[in-house]
């Protein structure tokens, strides 16, 4: 399946008192990947600001701007047009011997190392390690991890925070897609499988008409290296991501892909109002 999607992602901040200056970074432009082509994109900001674009260490397109006039609201609109197909996998397998090879571990060290977000307790790590000890292939080990997450973490919003780590989410037993991703990544890394965090959008309907708009959502999922990189979506129990997933950024954890980050001087902000509208264009 190959199709084209238009995505309009708006974020609106309202401040209780005027903000007199702010510095902001936006990571909301879809990537080019092996199964996704970025046809066009633009970022618009209100109040008006001059935008500076660059690609960061992880290859994500970043838009930076600063504001120096008094304002009490900030709107960011990211519009893009992408062509996506289902990822093609070659079915390359990875054996435990390859996984424990020092040169493999070195080459993937960036995605095997624990970060603040992707920590789990020693108890959890040894539990998952012993459960995969007799499992041969990387993909079967992955299944064990997915199973563990399904049993120990349940989807519920409003319990964890954007700053919650994998171990915090596991302790509570509830979380959102960000927590599912961090927990899954932490477990995968603890059994020697390289894993990375993906942020983007998920198209909600399976078979929309051309021209039909839907309310989509910002989403987070996981890529894991099992001989090749494959996408999995632990919070939706999807074992292979497909053309419904629009990739924006990849990194070690949420901290590397944060869609919006800012420092501002002035009044308190209310929680932002975020809408993602996704329309099938072809």
């Amino acid at each position: 399946m190959k199709w084209r999607l238009e995505i309009v992602h708006t974020t609106k901040y309202t401040y209780q008192e005027d903000v007199y200056s702010s510095y902001n970074e936006v990571r909301m432009t879809p990537k080019n990947t092996s199964n996704q082509l970025l046809l066009s994109s633009s970022i618009a900001v209100s109040p008006r600001a001059s935008l500076y674009n660059y690609f960061d260490y992880f290859g994500t397109a970043v838009t930076y701007f600063d504001l120096h006039r008094r304002h009490n609201n900030l709107d960011i609109t990211s519009s893009s047009h992408v062509e996506i197909e289902d990822p093609r996998t070659r079915g390359v397998r990875l054996s435990p011997i390859e996984m424990s090879d020092p040169s493999f571990m070195d080459a993937f060290s960036e995605y095997l190392t624990t970060t603040t977000y992707t920590q789990v307790s020693n108890g959890v790590a040894s539990q998952i390690q012993s459960s995969v000890s007799s499992v041969e292939t990387a993909e079967d080990r992955l299944s064990k991890v997915v199973e563990f997450v399904r049993e120990n973490l349940h989807y519920r919003s409003g319990i964890t925070m954007v700053s919650s780590s994998a171990s915090e989410a596991l302790d509570i037993g509830f979380g959102v897609c960000q927590d599912f991703a961090h927990v899954t990544i932490a477990l995968l890394r603890s059994i020697g499988l390289p894993a990375r965090y993906v942020s983007g959008y998920l198209y909600p309907n399976k078979d929309p008409e051309v021209g039909e708009s839907s309310t989509g959502e910002s989403h987070a999922w996981v890529e894991v290296f099992v001989g090749e990189w494959i996408g999995i979506d632990p919070s939706n129990c999807v074992d292979r991501t497909n053309h419904l997933y629009v990739t924006v950024a990849k990194g070690r954890d949420y901290g590397d892909v944060t869609p919006f980050r800012g420092v501002y001087f002035g009044g308190q902000s209310s929680p932002p109002i975020v809408t993602v509208t996704m329309t099938r264009r072809a």
Partner: protein, 506 residues
């Protein structure tokens, strides 16, 4: 008349710089001893105290735990021959050139990793590797504008590198102030000796900073950025700003706008072109690093990225003075310069190798263990002086995080005659030379800061832990070098690593 040096015997096991050189009839050291004999120790001390009092009155201090202290200056200088120093200087320039190339590569395409000269995790697991600052510099910018390396003289008398400080090394103000003080303590010697001057440093630094200004600027504004008066090196920040004739600013004096940096003044804002910063990476820009930091200038990192301002030293240099990177210095010099290092390292154990790790864990008592990413002597455990509990803690720390530590042989580094009470006694001293780099070349301050451990037998020279300092004299002409320090090219690696296929001179 007896000389205060008559009873001086040096220290067991260590190379004593006076004993060895005076036995070799080195005229400079003998001349120094003769002058002290003529002057008398009491008069020398009287002058030293007088100078120290004026220094304190002038505010030449550093701060420890909120308290201002003077950095005690020992009135006996350290002498290094011009011939030896010339080779050290070459070695320092070579080392900085290699580390500059290393940083450019690490924050660029990482060829050295691709060519498998160093493991990838050396970079990806380094706490000081700055992904946020991973971008190429402009061709007119340097990453290591100022370096301050720590050297020690080992048991054989050779100056070797203990660590590289490529972030915000401090101490150069004491080098300049110590020289001024010595001219008042021992004016007799300044008439007889041709001592290489150190007072050029501020103008050399300023020239380097100006040469790194964004290209379209004709009359660049340079500022010194300090965290503020509570920083331990605030005196130096103020000193350098004054000597260079540029504004001393704190983070709150600067702001970013449209990828340019401005300084607030009483009249209007002025655009800043070059920032000589003495503030750590973590506090540079709250948009990228500590978001709760009140220090720091939001927007600064992107202004640097966009070329609107130059910062010295560059962000992220800590990955090159990581002590595990140090352990790969031979490979780094070979890879980028196709040369052998002129200055040696101390033998260093890489703890990621299980056999090496086991050896170190079994022998902590006889080794020094250091955290890879700390500076200023923090977290270092000297096995021979540690308590059993400290040793056990180090073992646990190594097992938990082998990438976080390295171990080294304990070097019984050299001693130098030092005034202690009413006698002269041997005290261990290190040497911190300073190297200023600009796109046009490099300048090494002749000598540098000799730091002395004032307690008998102590090897802790840090100013915050009871260290003092000495003026370091590089003297031309009279002396004959006792030891040849010409580099030997006899050490060959079995296999050439990296791009270089080199032949070695015998």
């Amino acid at each position: 008349m007896t000389s205060p040096f008559d009873l001086y015997r040096g220290s067991a096991g260590a190379f004593d710089e006076f004993i060895v050189n005076s036995n070799a009839k080195d005229e400079n050291w003998l001349g120094l001893a003769k002058s002290i004999e003529n002057l008398g120790l009491i008069e020398l001390k009287r002058r030293a105290i007088e100078v120290e009092q004026t220094q304190a009155a002038r505010g030449i201090t550093f701060t420890v735990g909120g308290q201002e202290r003077t950095f005690p200056l020992d009135p006996l200088p350290r002498i290094i021959s011009y011939e030896e120093w010339s080779m050290v200087e070459l070695g320092l320039m070579q080392r900085i050139a290699a580390l500059e190339a290393f940083l450019d590569d690490i924050y660029g395409s990482q060829e050295i990793v691709r060519d498998k000269v160093i493991p990838k995790r050396l970079i990806s697991n380094a706490t000081q590797f700055s992904r946020a600052a991973s971008f190429p510099l402009k061709e007119y910018q340097m990453r290591i504008t100022v370096a301050g390396l720590d050297l020690i003289r080992d048991e054989t008398g050779e100056l070797v590198v203990l660590e590289d400080n490529l972030r915000t090394p401090s101490g150069v103000s004491y080098v300049i102030e110590n020289r001024r003080a010595m001219a008042r303590i021992l004016p007799e010697l300044f008439e007889n000796y041709e001592i290489e001057p150190v007072t050029d440093y501020p103008s050399r630094l300023l020239a380097s900073l100006i040469s790194q200004a964004p290209t379209q600027v004709s009359d660049p504004l340079v500022v010194v950025l300090t965290p503020g008066i509570y920083n331990s090196a605030y005196f130096e920040h103020a000193f350098l700003a004054r000597q260079m004739g540029v504004p001393l600013v704190e983070p709150r004096d600067l702001f970013a706008k449209g990828n340019e940096i401005f300084v607030r003044t009483t009249k209007a804002s002025r655009r800043v072109d070059v920032i000589y910063r003495r503030i750590d990476d973590e506090y540079i820009d709250p948009l990228f690093f500590k978001p709760d930091s009140y220090l720091g200038i939001p927007g600064l990192l992107n202004a640097i990225r966009a070329g609107g301002v130059t910062i010295a030293n560059a962000i992220g240099n800590g990955v090159a003075d990581d002590k595990l990177t140090y352990a790969y210095l031979n490979e780094i010099v070979d890879y980028y310069l196709h040369q052998k290092p002129l200055l040696k390292n101390i033998e260093t154990y890489r703890l990621e190798d299980p056999d090496v790790r086991k050896f170190v864990i079994d022998n902590v008592e006889n080794l020094v263990v250091k955290p890879v990413d700390a500076s200023g002597g923090k977290g270092i455990v000297i096995g021979s002086k540690a308590t059993e509990r400290e040793i056990e803690e180090v073992r646990i720390a190594i097992i938990a995080n082998p990438r976080g530590y390295i171990a080294q042989r304990i070097v019984n580094f050299s001693t130098i005659p030092t005034v202690v009470g009413s006698t002269i006694e041997p005290r261990h001293a290190d040497l911190r030379p300073f190297i200023v780099s600009s796109p046009d070349g490099r300048y090494v301050v002749p000598g540098g800061l000799s730091r002395v451990a004032l307690n008998s037998g102590s090897m802790i020279v840090n100013s915050s832990q009871g260290g003092g300092s000495k003026d370091t004299w590089i003297i031309k002409g009279r002396s004959r070098p006792r030891i040849s320090i010409a580099p030997t090219f006899s050490e060959r690696r079995e296999q050439p690593i990296g791009l270089a296929t080199k032949e070695s001179a015998q």
